[in-house]
């Protein structure tokens, strides 16, 4: 994959004494959909604003389609933004909002009306062309904002948490609609979100951001299966987490002594190193058929339709979480249960520094 369409190199930004972006690199190919996923304050919106040209980086470069655009003003970048608040023009009608970018670029008037109609139809807002913005619901405003951003044919579309103001049901429909629309139009897009489900559903690749850095940039399945850092493990999906100390290390396998017992994992650490063991909850089975075996008293069982989520009493600083298709018979709070998982499913990290 030629990762040359958008490239951000060493982008850094500080506000006063706070480092918001700490040397971020990001490369995207044409037509790709990348999510910036992270908690609030991780720098994802700052990165988005730097790419849009709404903010200048202290250091670093931004290049789009082979041109250095680091110092180019936003109106000359061909980068459209859908804002969290949509930022629709309240003094213009729906159709006038969508036409704004074309008019500003001096498009021939004869081309504007058909283009506006086409994009309003694409977002299923054709019937609302003459309405006032204030007469629209949140979901409708969001659709208009997407049409307004896409109608100018941007090289890159940036979406800043566009679904955060919508209720869950509507959000899920809109996610699927938007992804299909972007694929049809063939737009390259960066999507900022703090919602892991949204990122996993929509993205070709996800950049997990934390404290001004990209911790991991990979396809959703890899982000979930092999989180690169303890933060990625904790932020995306649920996990069992057991801190411990390496006691043996040979042939790429380490033995880790944890409060729940000795566990094996793939990795290379010096004996004595503090580490963190992680396991995805659905990789654990409730018997001792796999290599890493522990036993813990059940704390709570949460029925979730297709699966049951089991929470266990765990030592200080640890967390034991299992997802199974059904609750074992005769298991109640306090019942000790056996569980195991394979060495391949065991994730191993250097112990995170104490916060």
């Amino acid at each position: 994959m030629a990762n040359g369409f958008l490239s951000v190199a060493g982008a850094a930004k500080t506000f006063g004494s706070a480092t918001v972006l700490d040397g971020v690199d990001l490369a995207m190919s044409r037509g790709e959909f990348v999510s910036l996923l992270g908690p609030s304050g991780c720098g994802k919106t700052t990165l988005l604003r730097i790419v849009a040209g709404l903010m200048a980086p202290d250091q670093g470069k931004v290049a789009l389609d082979g041109e250095d655009i680091t110092r180019r003003p936003p109106h000359k970048r061909d980068v459209s933004v859908v804002f969290q608040s949509y930022a629709l023009f309240p003094h213009l009608s729906v159709a006038e909002n969508v036409a704004f970018g074309l008019k500003a670029r001096g498009a021939p008037p004869a081309e504007i009306a058909p283009a506006v109609a086409r994009f309003l139809d694409l977002v299923q807002m054709g019937a609302y062309a003459d309405r006032s913005i204030k007469a629209l619901s949140g979901g409708q405003q969001q659709r208009v904002a997407v049409a307004r951003a896409l109608v100018v044919g941007p090289k890159l579309l940036l979406l800043d948490e566009p679904f955060s103001a919508l209720d869950r049901k509507l959000r899920e429909t809109m996610q699927i609609d938007l992804k299909r629309l972007l694929r049809d139009v063939g737009t390259t897009a960066i999507f900022v979100t703090h919602d892991q489900d949204e990122a996993l559903t929509m993205s070709d690749r996800i950049a997990v951001m934390y404290k001004g850095r990209i911790e991991q940039l990979d396809v959703p399945a890899e982000i979930y299966r092999k989180p690169a850092t303890p933060f990625a493990l904790g932020f995306v999906g649920l996990s069992t987490r057991l801190p411990g100390t390496v006691t043996q290390s040979a042939d790429g396998i380490v033995v880790v002594d944890t409060a729940a017992g000795a566990l094996r994992a793939r990795g290379n650490f010096l004996p004595g190193s503090p580490v963190l063991i992680g396991v995805r909850p659905e990789r654990i089975v409730l018997d001792h058929s796999h290599a890493n075996r522990i036993e813990a008293p059940l704390a709570d069982a949460a029925f979730q339709g297709a699966r049951v989520q089991l929470h266990f009493h765990a030592p200080e600083g640890a967390q034991i979480l299992v997802e199974t298709p059904s609750l074992p018979a005769a298991a109640g709070p306090g019942t000790p249960l056996k569980m195991s998982w394979s060495v391949e499913d065991t994730l191993l990290y250097p112990a995170p520094e104490a916060a």
């Binding site: 849009a52 709404l54 109106h75 930022a87 309240p90 213009l92 970018g101 500003a104 204030k134």
Partner: protein
């Protein structure tokens, strides 16, 4: 009356102000209106017919409208950028600009007008500066000219243009300008298609304030241009104070009132047309 229609008790909070204005403003206004259409105890439109058929009256009306319009324009052109800067500025800069705008309001109009008399004299600062820069071939007196009057009056009234525009601009979402920029709009296009239309309500309020104050100013023309130049306001004052012609004074006052109300209502209607649904 429909019993389902109840008066919101909160509206009653306006009662003190309404009573106060009715007594000190409404009643005298009615007396004035009454006088302007009464001749010898009988209702008559003769005073208006007489006033409006005198060519000098039209000179006075034109003077009033022209000066008020010029002052309003100057205030708009100086005030709008200031309001924009004020809305964008933050922290200390904003506080400083606000103080610079509001503090001069505590200086009386008479004091300001006297200060302008000094500045606008033939040997005043403006004249010396312009001749010094070579822009004027010889010292000139701006005092007792219309230009001097407009400069002085605009100085007094400009805060009343800045503050309403600022208070509207402050509420405009800064994301709107950013959205326009990312859609390809240049700074100038953004200003004329986004910031300006959205700030129209503030402009209308500012124009209404400044125009009505400039049309009815009395002290400033007296000090900066003198008796030769008559406006409806100075003529009203002279009629009552010096000529003891209460009939004429009432008539000119009513003409001024009608004129100002027409401009205020007209500009509000115009902004509604231009601004659409907002």
């Amino acid at each position: 009356m429909n019993s389902a229609r109840r008066i919101d008790p909160v509206i009653l909070l306006a009662l003190p102000a309404v009573i106060y204005l009715a007594v000190v403003y409404g009643v005298p206004l009615l007396v004035l209106l009454g006088r302007s259409v009464m001749v010898g105890g009988l209702p008559s439109l003769a005073p208006f017919v007489g006033f409006l058929s005198d060519p000098f009256s039209w000179t006075v009306i034109w003077n009033t409208v022209r000066i008020a319009a010029l002052v309003t324009l100057v205030c708009l052109f100086i005030g709008y950028p200031t309001a924009l800067a004020l809305a964008r500025a933050g922290g200390v800069a904003q506080a400083l600009i606000l103080v610079a705008i509001i503090l001069p309001l505590s200086v009386g109009v008479v004091v300001k007008a006297f200060a302008w008399q000094i500045v606008l004299r033939r040997d005043g600062v403006v004249s010396q500066l312009m001749t010094g820069l070579g822009l004027w071939s010889e010292p000139q007196r701006l005092l007792f000219t219309e230009a001097g009057l407009v400069i002085g009056a605009a100085n007094v009234f400009v805060p009343f243009m800045i503050l309403p525009i600022y208070s509207v601009l402050k509420l405009v979402d800064p994301r709107l300008g950013e959205a326009a920029a990312t859609l390809g709009a240049s700074p100038l296009y953004r200003f004329f298609k986004v910031a300006l239309p959205l700030s129209l309500p503030g402009i209308v309020t500012g124009v209404a304030f400044v125009f009505s104050m400039a049309a009815s100013m009395y002290v400033i023309p007296n000090l900066l241009i003198g008796d030769r130049f008559q406006t409806l306001a100075t003529m009203t004052g002279r009629s009552f104070l010096f000529m003891r012609n209460e009939q004429l004074g009432s008539t000119t006052a009513v003409v001024l009132l009608v004129l100002t109300v027409a401009v205020v209502v007209g500009s509000a209607a115009l902004s509604k047309r231009l601004g659409g649904a907002s």
